[in-house]
C-alpha cells in the first residue's frame, strides 16, 4: 500500500501558474524580442544569455551547411494502436500537433554536412507533444542510426523531450530498448553517436539513446533528469538543491562531457566530427 507514490499530491498542490508570459519574453531578464531578432540570435537572449527553446527546423538551419540537409523518413506518421482516449482522443492530439508545428512528428532526421564534414542529423522538437517518444520517434531515430552506419558517418543527435508518449502505452516504453539496440548497431558499424542534450531531456529519452553518446554535450541551464524536480519534491519531500537536474549539476557529477552555449555548438561539433573521421582531416 504505502509503496505507492502518491501523485495526487502533485495535482492538488500545483502552484498558481505565473501570469502567462509571451514566448518571446525572456523568463530570466524580461527582455522582449521579435521573432526575427531571436532567430538571428539563435534563440539566445542577447541581454542575459538565456537559451529559449529552439524549433527543429531552426536548429537544423543553425547546424547544417546551407543546402546540405536532405530529410529522411519525413512521411512516417503515428498510429493509434490502443485507440487511446483520455480527455481527448490521441488522434486529435496528433492532428493538432501537426497543425501547430508543421511537423509530422516530434523528430526530424536526415543527411547533412557540418562545416564540410558529412554526418547524419537527428533533431527533436519539444513543440510537438512535448517531444514525447512514441513509435515514430523511435523508428525515425533508429533509421538515422542505420543511415549513418550505411554511409559511414557519425550521427549527431539533438534531444528535447519530456519522455515516452503515454498515449501509446507499453509500445512507447519499448522505444527505449529499440533505440538502444539501434545505437548498439551503429557502434558495431564503427560509427560515433554525438549526443547534444537541450532543455529538457528527461525520462525515457534520457534513459535510452541520449545517454549513450560517445560524447555528450548539453546546453546551459538545460534540465536533464530522469525524474523532474516537481515530481521528486512531491514524492520524496526532499529539499532540492538549487541546480537540481540542470546541465551544470550533471557536469559536476560526471554525467556529461561539456556545457556548450548555442553560438559555440556548431564549431564544437565540427571539431568533434573532425576527430571522429577516419584520417582526422
Amino acid at each position: 500500500m504505502s509503496s505507492r507514490i502518491d501523485v495526487s499530491i502533485e495535482h492538488r498542490n500545483v502552484p498558481e501558474p505565473p501570469g502567462k508570459q509571451h514566448p518571446n519574453t525572456c523568463p530570466e531578464c524580461q527582455s522582449h524580442y521579435r521573432d526575427d531578432e531571436l532567430e538571428a540570435a539563435l534563440w539566445v537572449c542577447p541581454h542575459c544569455g538565456h537559451h529559449f527553446p529552439m524549433r527543429a527546423r531552426s536548429r537544423i538551419a543553425s547546424l547544417a551547411d546551407e543546402g546540405t540537409f536532405v530529410e529522411e523518413a519525413a512521411d512516417l506518421r503515428s498510429e493509434d494502436p490502443l485507440q487511446f482516449f483520455d480527455l481527448r482522443p490521441y488522434t486529435e492530439r496528433l492532428a493538432e500537433a501537426e497543425m501547430k508545428t508543421g511537423l509530422g512528428e516530434a523528430i526530424v532526421i536526415g543527411q547533412a554536412s557540418i562545416d564540410g564534414k558529412p554526418c547524419e542529423l537527428s533533431v527533436m522538437d519539444f513543440a510537438f507533444m512535448g517531444g514525447s517518444m512514441g513509435s515514430v520517434v523511435g523508428e525515425k531515430f533508429s533509421r538515422a542510426c542505420d543511415s549513418a552506419a550505411d554511409r559511414g558517418v557519425p550521427l549527431v543527435s539533438v534531444t528535447a523531450s519530456g519522455g515516452a508518449r503515454m498515449q501509446e502505452g507499453i509500445l512507447s516504453l519499448m522505444q527505449l530498448p529499440k533505440t538502444v539496440c539501434a545505437v548498439e548497431d551503429l557502434h558495431d558499424s564503427g560509427q560515433a553517436l554525438i549526443s547534444v542534450m537541450t532543455h529538457p531531456t528527461t525520462a525515457g529519452v534520457l534513459a535510452s539513446f541520449a545517454s549513450l553518446g560517445d560524447v555528450i554535450v548539453a546546453e546551459p541551464g538545460a534540465l536533464l533528469a530522469f525524474t523532474g524536480p516537481r515530481v521528486v519534491q512531491q514524492t520524496t519531500r526532499e529539499k532540492l538543491p538549487e541546480d537540481f537536474g540542470l546541465a551544470e549539476q550533471n557536469l559536476r557529477f560526471g554525467h556529461i562531457d561539456a556545457i556548450v552555449p548555442r553560438p559555440e555548438l556548431r564549431p564544437h561539433l565540427s571539431r568533434l566530427l573532425r576527430l571522429f573521421s577516419r584520417n582526422g582531416d
Binding site: 507514490i5 502518491d6 503515454m166 501509446e168 502505452g169 539496440c181 545505437v183 554525467h255
Partner: protein, 310 residues
C-alpha cells in the same frame, strides 16, 4: 455458451496470427502454446479484470524474487555491491544452479514488513542497483552463464541522490549491456513492470509475463494525474493503456504468459514457482543451441521491430 466462448477464442487467435503484420513478436511456432494459455485466460480482459491485475500485481503477499530463488535454485550465492559506491538492496543479483546448471539471476526485491521495505526502498532501485546488475550481466557473459531477470519494480527511485548518481544514464547503459550479451537471456515480469526501471533489466531474448503481472510506461496513478489531471482516475487510465499480460502479448511486447495458480500467485507460491520454473526452463532450452552472435542479432532485431506506425 460453449460456442460463444469458442468463437471468441478463435477470434483472438486470428488476431494473434495477424500480429506479425504489426512487426511484433515471432508468434508462428507458438500458437499452440498460446492456445493453451488463452484457454486458461478464457476471455478478453474487461476493464475490471485489468484493474484486478493491477491489484494482484501489487498484492502485499505476492511472491518476490527471493521467494522464487528459494524454490527454484540450488546453491544460491547472492553477490553484493556495484564496486563503486554502494550495495542496492532493491535489486538482488547472484549465481545459482537451476535444474543442474549454473545461471546468473537478477531481480527486483520489495520488502515484506515495514523494516524490510524501508531497507529495500520498496523495490525502487538506485543507479547503484543497475550498476550491480550490469556487473552480473558482464560476469554471466564472461563465463557463459544464461541470465534470468525477474522484473518487479514500481519504478526506478525518483530522488535527489538517484538523479545525482545518474539514474537515466544507468538505465540506458543497463539496456545497452543487455543488447551486447552473447549468452541466452530470459526476463519475466513477476509483478509490476514499472517503466524505465523495468526495461533496464528486461531487454532479453525471451520476455515472459506472469498472468497477473502488469507492464506499464507509467503508473496508472501517474498517467491519470497527467492526462486526466486527477490521480483518482487510475482505473480509467489503466483501462486506456492496457498494462495486462494478454494485451502485452497481443502487442508483441512479451513472448509468453506464465500461468499463475487460481486466484493469483500469492495463494500458492509453490505452484507459482513451479509454473515459473517450467516456463524459464522451456525458454532457456529454446535458446541453448543458438550461437552467441545470432542471439545478439535476433534480440536486437526483435526489439527494433516493436512499434506501430504508418
Amino acid at each position: 455458451m460453449a460456442t460463444d466462448h469458442e468463437l471468441h477464442l478463435r477470434d483472438r487467435l486470428t488476431r494473434l496470427r495477424s500480429l506479425n503484420l504489426l512487426g511484433g513478436a515471432r508468434l508462428s511456432g507458438e500458437l499452440e502454446k498460446l492456445q493453451r494459455q488463452l484457454d486458461r485466460i478464457q476471455s478478453a480482459p474487461t476493464d475490471e479484470e485489468i484493474w484486478r491485475s493491477v491489484e494482484l500485481a501489487r498484492h502485499q503477499d505476492r511472491p518476490y524474487t527471493l521467494d522464487y530463488v528459494e524454490r527454484l535454485l540450488d546453491d544460491w550465492v547472492e553477490l553484493h555491491g556495484d564496486r563503486g559506491r554502494a550495495d542496492d538492496a532493491a535489486l538482488v543479483v547472484g549465481l545459482g544452479r537451476f535444474n543442474g546448471r549454473t545461471i546468473a539471476l537478477l531481480g527486483n526485491q520489495k520488502g515484506r514488513d515495514i523494516k524490510e521495505r524501508t531497507h529495500r526502498n520498496f523495490g525502487m532501485a538506485y543507479p547503484e542497483g543497475y550498476r550491480k546488475a550490469m556487473r552480473l550481466m558482464e560476469l554471466a557473459d564472461r563465463h557463459g552463464f544464461p541470465l534470468v531477470s525477474l522484473v518487479d519494480i514500481p519504478g526506478a527511485y525518483p530522488g535527489v541522490a538517484a538523479e545525482q548518481h545518474g539514474q537515466g544514464g544507468a538505465i540506458a547503459r543497463s539496456q545497452a549491456v543487455m543488447a551486447r550479451l552473447g549468452v541466452p537471456t530470459v526476463a519475466c515480469v513477476i509483478g509490476e513492470g514499472g517503466s524505465g526501471g523495468a526495461i533496464a533489466t528486461a531487454l532479453a531474448d525471451k520476455v515472459l509475463m506472469q498472468e497477473n503481472a502488469i507492464y506499464t510506461v507509467i503508473s496508472p496513478e501517474g498517467c491519470a494525474a497527467i492526462l486526466w489531471r486527477d490521480a483518482g482516475e487510475a482505473k480509467k487510465a489503466a483501462a486506456a493503456f492496457k498494462p495486462d499480460a494478454v494485451h502485452c502479448l497481443e502487442l508483441g511486447v512479451v513472448d509468453g504468459i506464465v500461468p499463475e495458480p487460481e486466484g493469483g500467485a500469492h495463494t500458492d507460491p509453490d505452484a507459482a514457482a513451479r509454473f515459473l520454473g517450467e516456463s524459464l526452463q522451456e525458454a532457456l532450452d529454446e535458446l541453448e543451441s543458438v550461437a552467441p552472435d545470432d542471439l545478439k542479432r535476433r534480440r536486437r532485431a526483435k526489439f527494433r521491430s516493436l512499434g506501430v506506425y504508418a
